[in-house]
């Protein structure tokens, strides 16, 4: 187990981060190249104020008319994303690892907060999963992969939570935690999870298209 | 006196009197008689028209069918076989608009029509009280030439005395 763990937090981790960063970069550069060729409409109407407003109104809860139509769902996906980003970045355990490896680290949140956020993320993930099954207009669009992605996204949180609280087999949980975390990192550039980066671009575009050209609010 | 007479046909008995008067005048004046019908458009802005077969496009088949029908209906009332002085024209759109437009283009001398008509050939014909229908109103107001609205079988357009004097 120890060897496996060392491997996972050693070379495998390097590999996952490399794939994550390089993958996202390559995806971005590739799309940029395509856009210069085929999407001139994007470049002719750039106005950063509209891009910013288009992005901002969709980052805050209930910032858009669409979100206000489904307020509970909006709150859930907002909390889900906050936890999804905040916990891995600001967890003290993660920061200790960074410190040990490179002597750098970010601010760490109190463990209690991390715990609460983790539980919230898990609950939100359950809600999202059930919603996907329950709402007809979402179910009809969803394939196996859409359900799997929710599970894979939640897995590091579940396993992390269990490991931290030393429930079930600690070593197993830690290994699973790292594996699922790395899996997630590797998947991001190649799937819809790339929206992490691409959200900003597509929102900018519609901000230019509706806002700059017509003055219409795309939120 | 008149060289071109435009008769506005609506395919119902209401304008038969008008047809008789127009025919009479055309024969006596040696004028060309144009039997004109407009397929009505339901919308202000689109090209779909109302026919007996329902709402449809005003395509050449529709026009041909209509021309044949008009020929059937009106030619039996004319004594001569294959009268050369009678021409049948059909259009689609807003009736009074097309009538005035045609009258302007062809420079007709006189328009003859009945006073009101049915709008939807699929509805049963109701006996309405005599009134001045929309097309009669608009045409008589905007036509580039005199308009005769015939409301009863006794009305004739040709001058009786002159005609009698001619034949006497």
């Amino acid at each position: 187990m120890n060897n496996l763990y060392n491997f996972l937090t050693g070379p495998a981790l390097w590999f996952s981060f490399a794939v994550f960063l390089v993958g996202l970069l390559v995806r971005l550069v590739f799309l940029f190249g395509l856009s210069r060729e085929r999407d001139r409409v994007f470049y002719n109407h750039i106005d950063w104020r509209w891009a910013f407003r288009s992005i901002w109104h969709w980052l805050i809860p209930w910032g858009s008319a669409s979100m206000r139509l489904q307020p509970f769902f909006s709150l859930v996906f907002f909390v889900f994303h906050v936890g999804l980003l905040a916990v891995p970045l600001f967890l003290s355990a993660h920061n200790m690892l960074w410190d040990e490896a490179f002597g750098l680290s970010l601010w760490s949140m109190p463990d209690v907060i991390a715990d609460i956020l983790t539980v919230l993320v898990i609950l939100c993930a359950i809600f999202l999963f059930v919603r996907r099954l329950a709402r007809a207009e979402v179910r009809i669009l969803s394939g196996i992969w859409d359900y799997c992605i929710i599970l894979i996204s939640a897995a590091p949180f579940v396993t992390g939570f269990l490991a931290y609280h030393q429930l079930l087999d600690y070593d197993l949980m830690m290994v699973l935690h790292v594996i699922t975390g790395e899996l997630l990192l590797i998947l991001i550039p190649f799937t819809k999870l790339g929206h992490m980066m691409l959200f900003f671009f597509t929102r900018s575009f519609i901000g230019f298209e509706m806002g700059t050209r017509r003055g219409a609010r795309s939120w | 006196m008149y060289k071109k007479i435009l008769f506005c046909a609506d395919l119902y008995a209401g304008s038969d009197y008008a047809f008789a008067a127009a025919l009479d005048l055309a024969e006596r004046s040696d004028a060309e008689l144009i039997v004109f019908h407009v397929l009505e458009s339901r919308h202000r802005y689109s090209g779909q028209v109302i026919t007996e077969d329902g709402e449809t496009w005003a395509g050449p088949e529709i026009y041909e069918k209509l021309k044949r029908k008009l020929k059937e209906y009106y030619f039996i009332r004319i004594e001569k076989e294959n009268p050369e002085f009678v021409r049948i024209e059909v259009r689609a759109g807003v009736p009074w608009m097309e009538i005035v437009r045609f009258a302007r283009k062809e420079k007709v001398d006189l328009i003859v029509m009945g006073s009101y008509t049915i709008h939807d050939p699929r509805q049963p014909m109701e006996l309405e009280k005599p009134h001045l229908g929309e097309n009669a109103q608009k045409v008589s107001l905007r036509a580039p030439c005199p308009v005769s609205i015939i409301t009863s079988p006794k009305q004739r357009l040709a001058m009786e005395k002159a005609a009698d004097a001619h034949t006497a």
């Binding site: 799309l31 940029f32 395509l34 856009s35 060729e37 085929r38 999407d39 001139r40 409409v41 994007f42 002719n44 109407h45 288009s54 969709w58 858009s64 008319a65 669409s66 139509l69 489904q70 007809a136 207009e137 979402v138 179910r139 009809i140 669009l141 859409d146 819809k192 929206h195 691409l198 959200f199 597509t202 929102r203 575009f205 519609i206 298209e209 509706m210 050209r213 017509r214 003055g215 219409a216 609010r217 795309s218 939120w219 | 919308h43 202000r44 802005y45 689109s46 090209g47 779909q48 329902g54 709402e55 496009w57 395509g59 050449p60 759109g93 807003v94 608009m97 437009r101 302007r104 905007r142």
Partner: protein, 446 residues
Amino acid sequence: MSTNEQAAVKAATETENKVNTKKIREILDANNGARIRTWLSICARCGLCAESCFFYLAHNKDPKLSPAYKFKNTLGELYRRKGYVDWTFLKKCADIAWGECTTCKRCSMYCPFGIDIATMIATVRAILFSQGIAPEGLMRTVVNYRETGNQMGMSSEDFIETCEWMAEESSEEIRGVTIPIDKKGAKYMYTVNPREPMFYPQDLAMAAKIFTVAGEDWTMPSTGWDCTNLPMFAGDKALAGQVVRNMYDKAVELGVKNILITECGHAFRSALFEGPYLAGYQDGKTPVPVIHSVQLLYEYVRDGRIKIDPAKRIKEPVTYQDPCNVSRNGGLWEEGRKLVAYLAEDFRDMTPNREHNHCCGGGGGFIPMGPEYKARRMASGRIKAEQIKATGAKIVIAPCHNCFDQLGDLNKEYKLGVKILSLKEIISEAMIVPDNLKPEEADEEA
């Protein structure tokens, strides 16, 4: 229509079984840019777009009518299968692309990523058109555009004669009304929807009267006067580009300062937004500025060039239909409302309104598509009908020909008991004619 034209329309709408895969792949490749690629891969399948679409809402929230479902099963499938599809699939796409979407773009405002589904449906239409599939009604107009440069197949001669006729008639009410043809260097080149001169030339007369009272320097071109662009909705991008170029070229030739669009929705979208790209202008700019009637009429009234007789303001409750391509996709919702404030005393806005208002259901080519699509139009228009009923208005102002006809149909179908009016109608009736323009005869009611 000539026999050749008839054959072309018939061929295009008959069942043929040969799919030209090469053409499909060409179009797919040409459109495989960053936008479409990203949209297809990033859709999170969250379902938020569903409630924005009036088709979905009107049909008891049928999940197959959500925008995401529509694009996923048409363009998504086409890309997934790399263009190797069969005729049955294409027919199904045609049903969705023309029968279930008006490209109103409301869904792009409700998607968290701002995915523009309307652009994707337009791409599907282009692919279908390349295979000869398109609704018969649109194909007829495409033939007309090719032959005569306008959708009604009206000759230049007939057009100019109609203008003369309308000028003659109007001069009985207002002195000196003319419709100047091909005046070089005029401030506005007025372009119309050919259905106006064809079926309702009073629109031309009303415009002429308004311009005369406002003292405007305007002209009507003898060619390139059709600002509509049905090939854009039929998926014939090449012809759509040609149609717009006709108008632009004429404007440049005459040296006019602006192109003015009549009260028509998609003409504005075509002339100002899609047009430059269709016509091949890489920078997306029109050669001459394009102004819409709603804006100009508002400016006339705001600046006092046209004064509205207070006694003739509309007393009955009035509501304003936001045509998708004038409001949401044209940016003119405030101007429209401010203008209506001058014209009516009791204004009641619909909910939702402005750029979030619903499509009337007659756009995207639906009205010209013809009687076989009417039932669908009426079913999906239920949302708009309910909006109108909820306002309690007796008059609906619709500055768009398609909205006008569609609302007229909805009025009969849902027994709304409203009257539909265009802005020109109201203004030409209610405007104060200055004494020097009054006709020479003593006071006569028009």
